[in-house]
């Protein structure tokens, strides 16, 4: 099945089963948030885990995707699928411009350029009239899928979010395991060698960057529809940091890691909210513990234990 190894196939089926069963046990809105962040983290992981490019500005694509989708759905009356498409295209467009600039440098310089561009984007969002400044875009309608099916019901929109997530997830998996993905991994391991083999690494990196930002845009767009809001939180650099946390916690360069990471971080945020200040403290402690003791992340460690590439 799509080149899955047996272990991965089982893990994927398990994950799919969980995605299907979970809304009957846990609160669907919470799960949709998890799925949106999971997709976002997977997109980020595509870049950092498989090309070795650490972007510190992924919130820009996520947030802009969410703004444009929100605006399109609210003001132009786009149907949900078109709004998500608009968000994806926004992520793509931004990715082309930002990526074209950023991939010229490596390591810390790459990270700083992406951060700087994302900050510029943040300031733009603070000032631009269409984002509603610090109030954000509020009360975005969930609309009707294909103009027919109302998504007002939580379960209906959950199905849409689950499909978007699974599609994105499989797409990323397909990219990683394609010949293109093999070249990306070669670039990650040793870029001069990839160049000497005749690969135009800049082109590969740019395409990977754009794919990542497009999926991040789709994740943001989906989130805007779920919650009916698009705000500065989504473009703020704290969001870029959060996605790094999710990916590291779950397991860098593992296909399932970011999903697990997104689940853990979102669950902490939601279920520890009643303990007030302890949320951020707990997040910090877990992050430190993870970096010190489980450097491969939850899924990474699990994979190593089971000798599986998850």
């Amino acid at each position: 099945m799509m080149g899955f190894s047996r272990g991965q196939a089982v893990a994927f089926l398990l994950m799919t089963a969980l995605v299907v069963v979970a809304p009957f046990v846990l609160y669907p809105v919470f799960l949709m948030k998890v799925l949106c962040f999971a997709l976002f983290a997977c997109a980020f992981n595509l870049l950092v885990g498989y090309v070795g490019l650490l972007s510190f500005g992924h919130a820009a694509y996520f947030g802009m995707g969410s703004y444009v989708a929100g605006y399109a759905a609210k003001v132009w009356g786009f149907t949900p699928e078109l709004a998500i498409l608009a968000g994806t295209l926004t992520g793509t467009g931004l990715g082309v411009v930002f990526g074209w600039l950023a991939i010229r440098r490596q390591g810390i310089y790459f990270a700083m350029i992406t951060l700087a561009l994302a900050q510029m984007n943040y300031f733009f969002c603070v000032q631009a009239p269409f984002t509603g400044g610090e109030d954000g875009i509020q009360q975005i309608p969930r609309g009707r899928l294909f103009g027919v099916i109302s998504l007002q019901n939580d379960m209906a929109i959950y199905a849409v979010v689950a499909v978007v997530f699974l599609f994105g997830f499989l797409l990323i998996r397909r990219i990683v395991h394609s010949p293109f993905g093999q070249v990306l991994k070669a670039i990650r391991e040793n870029e001069p060698r990839a160049i000497s083999l005749g690969y135009r690494t800049d082109d590969y990196k740019l395409v990977a960057f754009i794919l990542s930002t497009a999926i991040a845009g789709a994740a943001g767009a989906t989130k805007a529809l779920v919650f009916g809001i698009a705000t500065l939180t989504d473009v703020h650099f704290a969001m870029s940091g959060e996605v790094v946390l999710m990916t590291l916690l779950g397991g860098l360069g593992t296909i399932f890691g970011p999903v697990m990471g997104a689940f853990v971080v979102t669950a902490m945020e939601n279920y520890l909210a009643q303990f007030g200040a302890w949320v951020t403290v707990t997040q910090g402690v877990i992050f430190v513990a993870c970096v010190l003791a489980f450097r491969r992340g939850i899924i990474g460690e699990l994979g190593a234990k089971l000798r599986l590439a998850l």
Binding site: Y27, V126, T231, T233, N270, Q274
Partner: protein, 404 residues
């Protein structure tokens, strides 16, 4: 086969970390109140745990009319999506009937939307935006004790009456700051004052206000209006003190709790507006005496008092209707709240048809350290604006269900 079993076990173990979802169903005879605010970030002292304490105080003092009241609380971290998902879960799963407090405009507008959709009551105390009773108004919402219009009117208009007739603004250059400057300018000129200039500064990220302060000083204006909030306000006040700026400082958005954090030495002479101060009269002092043991380091400001008064007023309306009736519709509860006068130790007034709480506003001046007689003795009252003049007129808000 062995591998897949292992994968299964591994994933199962990971799933075991899932926090067990609590299935708390709405109980017919219990009214549940959720205090949703910032418990860990910049608005922790202006709202935070003290708001929860004040809401609980109201529940304690409320003479039970044959139903139970439960108070829960959560931290929204100033993230609208987190706030909205907590609110949805509270309404859908926890059976919450009222969400109160909710600082930060973006979160407040999101919660107002969710509450309207679910037909549940939201009493907003913590957020400043006057849109809550204007173009974003909702039949299930009450905005309790302050907003940007009232702050601009009192601090702008009343300061001119108290002698500060020429102004200079330092403004955070984004929608909130610009709006505040525009509103305040209108009130200053209406009261016969004039504005000599303004320095917009890039927001966010500005920490050095020195050049703006010197420009303000050289304009020769008597009053320096600070159209910003939170950390920016605190920074500009501290730096004004360090530069020995001789103008009267007017903070457009500031609370007694911020003055406590700044200290009288830096804050003396500053003017600001609140609708509650613990030392206003016998009733406010009595209220403060009852709660201060529970929150010894953070005495109530107007947001905290609003949480107390809002909770109490809500419970009175519910008791008046009967729990069974109240559970059916949030809009009906708010309807009832608008019909009943607000009368408790913190606030006396009413709720207007658009959800606006109608209470007097007070222009305070921060005392000099030598004038302060004790702990938290910070303000003297300069001007009182009566309730019917303090707020934006009903027909100017643009609320869709208000028919003029």
């Amino acid at each position: 086969m062995e591998i897949s079993r292992r994968a299964l076990l591994g994933t199962a173990a990971a799933v075991a970390t899932v926090p067990v979802a609590r299935r708390a169903r709405a109980q017919a005879n219990t009214i549940k109140i959720g205090v949703l605010n910032d418990q860990s970030g910049p608005y922790r002292d202006t709202g935070g745990p003290t708001s929860v304490i004040c809401a609980k105080q109201a529940v304690e003092e409320f003479q039970s009319k044959g139903f139970n009241v439960e108070v829960i609380a959560a931290d929204h971290q100033n993230k609208p999506d987190l706030g909205a998902s907590i609110a949805r879960e509270w309404y859908d799963r926890e059976g919450v009937d009222l969400i109160i407090d909710v600082p930060t405009s973006s979160v407040a507008l999101a919660i107002a939307g969710v509450s309207k959709e679910k037909n549940k009551v939201h009493i907003n105390v913590g957020a400043a935006t006057s849109d809550l009773t204007g173009k974003s108004c909702s039949p299930t919402l009450v905005h309790y004790c302050y907003d940007t219009y009232m702050l601009a009117k009192s601090t702008g208009g009343a300061t001119v009456k108290a002698g500060g007739d020429s102004w200079y603004f330092i403004t955070a250059d984004y929608a909130f700051g610009q709006q505040l400057q525009k509103d305040t300018t209108a009130f200053v000129t209406a009261a016969g004052g004039k504005v000599l200039g303004s320095s917009p500064y890039p927001f966010p990220g500005t920490t050095d206000f020195s050049s703006f302060l010197l420009q303000a000083q050289s304009s020769g204006a008597k009053v320096l209006g600070l159209c910003n909030a939170g950390g920016d306000t605190v920074n500009s006040i501290k730096q004004a003190k360090e530069f020995g700026i001789k103008m009267r400082l007017a903070a457009m958005l500031m609370f007694v709790t911020d003055v406590n954090a700044l200290g009288l030495d830096a804050a003396q002479g500053l003017v600001l507006t609140e609708s509650f101060y613990w030392d206003l009269n016998d009733r406010t002092r009595a209220f403060t005496n009852r709660v201060k043991a529970k929150t010894p380091n953070n005495w109530p400001n107007m947001i905290h008092a609003g949480n107390y008064s809002g909770t109490l007023h809500f419970l009175k309306a519910v008791a008046d209707m009967g729990v069974a009736e109240a559970k059916k519709s949030g809009a009906a509860i708010v309807e009832r709240m608008k019909k009943m006068p607000v009368d408790d130790d913190c606030f006396q007034g009413s709720i207007r048809v658009d959800g606006r709480g109608m209470f007097p506003s007070y222009l305070f001046e921060v005392k000099k350290p030598s004038e302060s007689k004790g702990k938290w003795d910070y303000f003297k009252t300069l001007v009182t604006t009566p309730a019917d003049q303090a707020w934006r007129p009903l027909n100017e808000g643009g609320c869709y269900f208000v028919t003029a």
